[in-house]
C-alpha cells in the first residue's frame, strides 16, 4: 500500500483522497478492534489489541499523515533518538520505582498499598475497615531490616545509625529503661512516633507502613528484650 505522495504544488486529487481516506478508515477499524478486544477477557489478547494496535495506529499516522515516510532521514533520526531516550529512562528508573524490593531494600509503603487495594468511594453499604493482610515476613526479619539500623539487632541502641546520634536510642536490655515503659507506651511510640510522648522526632510513627497486627508483634519483640527480674 505504498503511495507516492507528491510534494509539489500540482495535486493528484483522485489518487490522494483515496489514500488518506483509506488510512482513515483503517484507523477507525483498528479502533473498533481495540475496543472490542477486552470483551474476550483474555489478558494477552487485550494487551495485544490495546497496545499493539496503538503502535500500528500511531505508525500509520506518523508515516502517512505526518509524511515521515517521505521526509529526509534527519527527521527520522531526531524522533528515533527521543524514543530511545525514553526507553533508556524507563530502564534506568524502573528498577527502583516499579519494584518493591531489591537485594538490600524493601518498599514497605508500596507493598502495603498493594495489599490494601483501592477503596471504592461507592462501595455498597458500610465502607468496611480496611484490613491489612500480613506481609509474609517474620517479625525478626523486619526488625533487623528496619529497626536495627538504629536500635541494633540486640536492642542495645547500638545500630550503625544509632551510635551517630547525639542522643542514641535507649538500651532495651537495661532495667532502668523498663521502669518507665509498658506495653501501651511501646505501642504508642511505634504507631505514632516518639514525639507523641515527648520524645525525639527521629523515631517516626509506622502506622502507615505496618498493620496494627504487625505493630503489636513489634511491641512484643521489643518487650522480649526486657531482662528477667
Amino acid at each position: 500500500m505504498a503511495e507516492n505522495h507528491e510534494q509539489n504544488g500540482d495535486g493528484h486529487d483522485g489518487g490522494h483522497h483515496t489514500n488518506y481516506k483509506k488510512i482513515y478508515f483503517t484507523l477507525l477499524g483498528l479502533l473498533v478492534v481495540s475496543v472490542a478486544g477486552p470483551f474476550l477477557e483474555i489478558l494477552v489478547i487485550t494487551l495485544i489489541t490495546a497496545f499493539g494496535i496503538a503502535v500500528v495506529k500511531a505508525n500509520l499516522v506518523i508515516q502517512n499523515f505526518m509524511h515521515l515516510k517521505a521526509e529526509k532521514r534527519l527527521a527520522k533520526w531526531i524522533l528515533a533518538t527521543s524514543l530511545l531516550l525514553m526507553a533508556l529512562m524507563f530502564a534506568g528508573i524502573s528498577a527502583d520505582v516499579m519494584n518493591h524490593e531489591g537485594r538490600n531494600w524493601v518498599n514497605l509503603a508500596a507493598m502495603a498499598a498493594v495489599e490494601r487495594g483501592i477503596v471504592d468511594p461507592h462501595a455498597e453499604g458500610e465502607v468496611e475497615e480496611v484490613e491489612f493482610v500480613a506481609v509474609a515476613r517474620t517479625v525478626e526479619a523486619d526488625f533487623n531490616l528496619i529497626c536495627a539500623t538504629c536500635h541494633g539487632t540486640g536492642g542495645l541502641g547500638d545500630g550503625a545509625a544509632g551510635v551517630a546520634l547525639d542522643t542514641p536510642p535507649a538500651d532495651f536490655t537495661d532495667p532502668v529503661f523498663w521502669e518507665t515503659r509498658d506495653m501501651d507506651r511501646i505501642l504508642n511510640v511505634i504507631t505514632n512516633g516518639a514525639a507523641a510522648v515527648g520524645g525525639s522526632s527521629l523515631m517516626v510513627g509506622w502506622s502507615a507502613s505496618f498493620s496494627a497486627e504487625r505493630i503489636q508483634e513489634f511491641a512484643d519483640y521489643v518487650l522480649a528484650f526486657r531482662p528477667e527480674e
Partner: protein, 570 residues
C-alpha cells in the same frame, strides 16, 4: 512554499524599509538577535550579582556563626536554607544558561554562519520575555511570607512537596513555576538555535566550516531539549503535590520520592554538559585565535563532543549512589561515569595540543581561556573520586562534592563568561577594553577563587557535610583549624568580589571612552569579524557573505598574513 537550498542573498529589499523598532522601544521590543543577546546578557549578569551576594551572606555565616552580616543581618536557619537553595538555582538557571547559551548563542550564531538573524526572530523575542518573567518570579519568591524556597536546588520531596516540612510553602511553588518557565524559554530558544545552525548557513559553509563554539552551543541545546522532558513531567507532578495534595512522591499514598530524584538527575546530569559545552567552545575559539593556529583536531572535537553528549545520558544515578537505589544499578552508573571522563579529557587535550607550537598572544581573553583549562582540569579529576561508588559513600553530601562542582561550574559560568565577554566585547560594543585592567581583574579573580575552594576540599575530606547552617552544633566539625579554613575561604570570597569592581569599571569606561575597535582587532578568521563593530541591523547590509574555507585557517603557509578570513575568495 518554502523551498530548498536557495540562498536569497539580495538583502536590499530590507534597506530603507524595515529597521526594527526605534528609540526606547528598540531596547525592549526588538527582534534583532543582537539586541536579544544583550537582554539575556544583562539579565544574566544582574542575576549573577544577586547570586554572588547570596554566597557572600551564607559564607559570612559559616565563617563567623551568629554574626550580623553587613548588608543582611543575622542569618536564621531558614534563611540560610533559602540562600543556598536560591544561590544554586540562580547560578545554574539564571546565570550560566542565559549568558553562555542564550546571550552568546544569540549574538554569535547568526554572525558566525553568515546569516542576517535567527530563523524565528519573534519566537526569539518571546523566549526572552518568558525568561524574564521566570527571573522576576524567582526574585519575587524571595519576598513572600515564609521567605524564599529552602529545599535545595535539587528540591527533593517530601521536603519540597510538603509546606509543613520546608516552611516555605508559597515560595516553593513560585520557585518551581519559575524553573518551569525558564525551561520553556530555553526550549523555544533551543529550537531557534538548532534550526538556524542546521539550515541558515552561508553558501559554501559546509558542516565542518562552522566554528566550534556554534556547534557546542547547538549540541548543548539538543542535550537540553532531550533531557528536560522527564523533569518537566516530574515538576508538574511535584507542583500538584505541593498545591493540590496529590501523592506522586508520598510513600504513604503510593508514591515514591526516589522517582523525583531519578527524573531530576536524568535531566540534571546532561544539564552540566549543557553548560560545559559552550564554555569549551568559547575556550577553543579563543585559543585558536590567540595561538594563530588551527584547532588540533576539529572533527575529533566535534565527534568527541557528540559522544560526550550521548554518554551524558547514561550517568545520572551517580548523584544517587547512597539514596537507596538498587546497588546493581550503582555499579552500572559507576562504570559509565568513570568512562565519561575520557572524552572530556580528550577535549581538553585537543585544546592544549592546539596551544603547542602556537604563536601565543597573552591578551586578557587568552588568559581566561588558559585559566579555564587549568581550573576545569582540577574539577574534572576530583570528579573521578566521586564517580567511584564506594568512595562516594564517604564523600556524598560533603564539601568535597561542593568543591568539585565549583571547580567545574566556576570555570564554566564565570571564567567562560569573562573569556567570551572580553573577547567579543569589541564586536558587541565597538570599543576595546583596557587590557591592563582586564589582567588585574583576571588575577584578582583566579587567585582568590582557588583560596575559596581548596580549603573546602580539605574540609570535605575531613567529613564536613553540606547544607548545615552552623557547624558549632557538631563538635567534630568545630575545631579551630576547621574554622580557620572556613574563614580563609570567606575572606578569599570577599577579595574576589572586590576585584569584580575592576571589571565593572573597565566595562563602563571602555564602553564610554575606549579606543575604537574597528572590524577585526584580534585578526581572527570567523565571519563575525568581517562586519562593522557593532554589526548593524541585518549584519551585512551590503550583502551576506559566502564562505570559502574553514574557520581556523591561521598561519597558512601560502599566505603572508597569518590569518585567512572565511569569506575571502580564493
Amino acid at each position: 512554499m518554502a523551498d530548498t537550498a536557495v540562498a536569497t542573498e539580495h538583502v536590499d529589499h530590507h534597506a530603507g524599509e524595515h529597521h526594527g523598532p526605534q528609540g526606547f522601544l528598540k531596547y525592549i521590543w526588538s527582534t534583532d538577535h543582537k539586541m536579544i543577546a544583550m537582554q539575556y546578557l544583562f539579565t544574566g549578569m544582574f542575576m549573577a550579582v544577586i547570586g554572588g551576594y547570596m554566597a557572600y551572606v551564607f559564607r559570612m555565616q559559616l565563617a563567623f556563626p551568629g554574626i550580623s552580616v553587613p548588608g543582611f543581618g543575622q542569618v536564621s536557619p531558614g534563611e540560610y536554607n533559602a540562600l543556598v537553595t536560591n544561590h544554586g538555582s540562580i547560578m545554574i538557571f539564571w546565570v550560566a544558561m542565559p549568558v553562555l547559551i542564550a546571550a552568546f548563542g544569540n549574538f554569535l550564531i547568526p554572525l558566525m554562519i553568515g546569516a542576517d538573524d535567527m530563523v524565528f526572530p519573534r519566537i526569539n523575542r518571546l523566549s526572552y520575555q518568558i525568561f524574564l518573567i521566570s527571573a522576576l518570579l524567582l526574585l519575587a519568591s524571595l519576598f513572600v511570607q515564609g521567605g524564599g524556597f529552602g529545599g535545595a536546588w535539587t528540591a527533593y520531596p517530601p521536603l519540597s512537596a510538603v509546606g509543613d516540612y520546608n516552611q516555605t510553602a508559597i515560595a516553593s511553588s513560585m520557585w518551581l513555576a519559575a524553573v518551569a518557565l525558564e525551561f520553556v524559554a530555553f526550549l523555544l530558544g533551543g529550537i531557534n538555535f538548532i534550526t538556524t545552525l542546521m539550515n541558515a548557513r552561508a553558501p559554501g559553509m559546509k558542516a565542518y566550516d562552522i566554528p566550534l563554539v556554534c556547534w557546542m552551543i547547538v549540541i548543548a541545546s539538543i542535550l537540553f531539549m532531550l533531557s528536560v522532558g522527564p523533569l518537566i513531567a516530574g515538576a508538574a507532578m511535584l507542583f500538584l503535590d505541593q498545591t493540590v495534595g496529590t501523592g506522586f512522591y508520598d510513600p504513604a499514598r503510593g508514591g515514591d520520592p526516589v522517582l523525583w530524584q531519578h527524573l531530576f538527575w536524568f535531566f540534571g546530569h546532561p544539564e552540566v554538559y549543557v553548560v560545559l559545552l559552550p564554555a569549551i567552545g568559547i575556550t577553543i575559539d579563543i585559543v585558536a585565535t590567540f595561538s594563530r593556529k588551527k584547532v588540533f583536531g576539529y572533527k575529533l572535537m566535534l565527534y568527541t563532543t557528540v559522544a560526550t553528549g550521548v554518554l551524558s545520558f547514561f550517568v545520572w544515578a551517580h548523584h544517587q549512589f547512597i539514596a537507596g537505589i538498587d546497588p546493581r544499578m550503582a555499579n552500572v552508573f559507576m562504570v559509565t561515569t568513570l568512562l565519561i571522563s575520557v572524552p572530556i579529557a580528550e577535549l581538553l587535550f585537543v585544546i592544549i595540543a592546539t596551544l603547542y607550537g602556537g604563536s601565543i598572544r597573552l591578551k586578557t581573553p587568552m588568559l581566561w581561556a588558559l585559566a579555564f583549562i587549568a581550573e576545569f582540569l582540577i574539577g574534572g579529576v576530583t570528579g573521578i573520586f566521586l564517580g567511584a561508588s564506594g568512595a562516594d559513600i564517604y564523600f556524598h553530601d560533603t564539601y568535597f562534592v561542593l568543591a568539585h562542582f565549583h571547580y567545574t561550574f566556576f570555570p564554566i559560568a564565570i571564567i567562560g563568561t569573562f573569556a567570551a565577554f572580553t573577547y567579543w566585547f569589541p564586536k558587541m560594543f565597538g570599543k576595546m577594553m583596557n587590557d591592563t585592567l582586564g589582567k588585574i581583574h583576571f588575577w584578582g579573580t583566579i587567585i582568590p577563587f582557588n583560596f575559596i575552594f581548596i580549603p573546602l576540599f580539605v574540609l570535605g575530606i575531613g567529613g564536613q557535610h553540606r547544607r548545615i547552617y552552623n557547624y558549632e552544633h557538631f563538635p567534630d566539625l568545630s575545631s579551630a583549624g576547621q574554622y580557620q579554613l572556613r574563614q580563609v575561604a570567606t575572606i578569599a570570597l570577599l577579595v574576589m568580589l572586590a576585584f569584580q569592581l575592576v571589571f565593572f569599571y573597565n566595562c563602563i569606561m571602555s564602553w564610554w571612552k575606549g579606543k575604537a575597535a574597528g572590524k577585526n582587532p584580534w585578526e581572527a578568521n570567523t565571519l563575525e569579524w568581517t562586519t562593522e563593530s557593532p554589526p548593524p541591523h541585518g549584519n551585512w547590509p551590503e550583502g551576506l557573505p559566502n564562505v570559502y574555507r574553514g574557520p581556523y585557517e591561521y598561519s597558512h603557509p601560502d599566505r603572508e598574513e597569518d590569518y585567512w578570513p572565511q569569506n575571502e575568495p580564493d
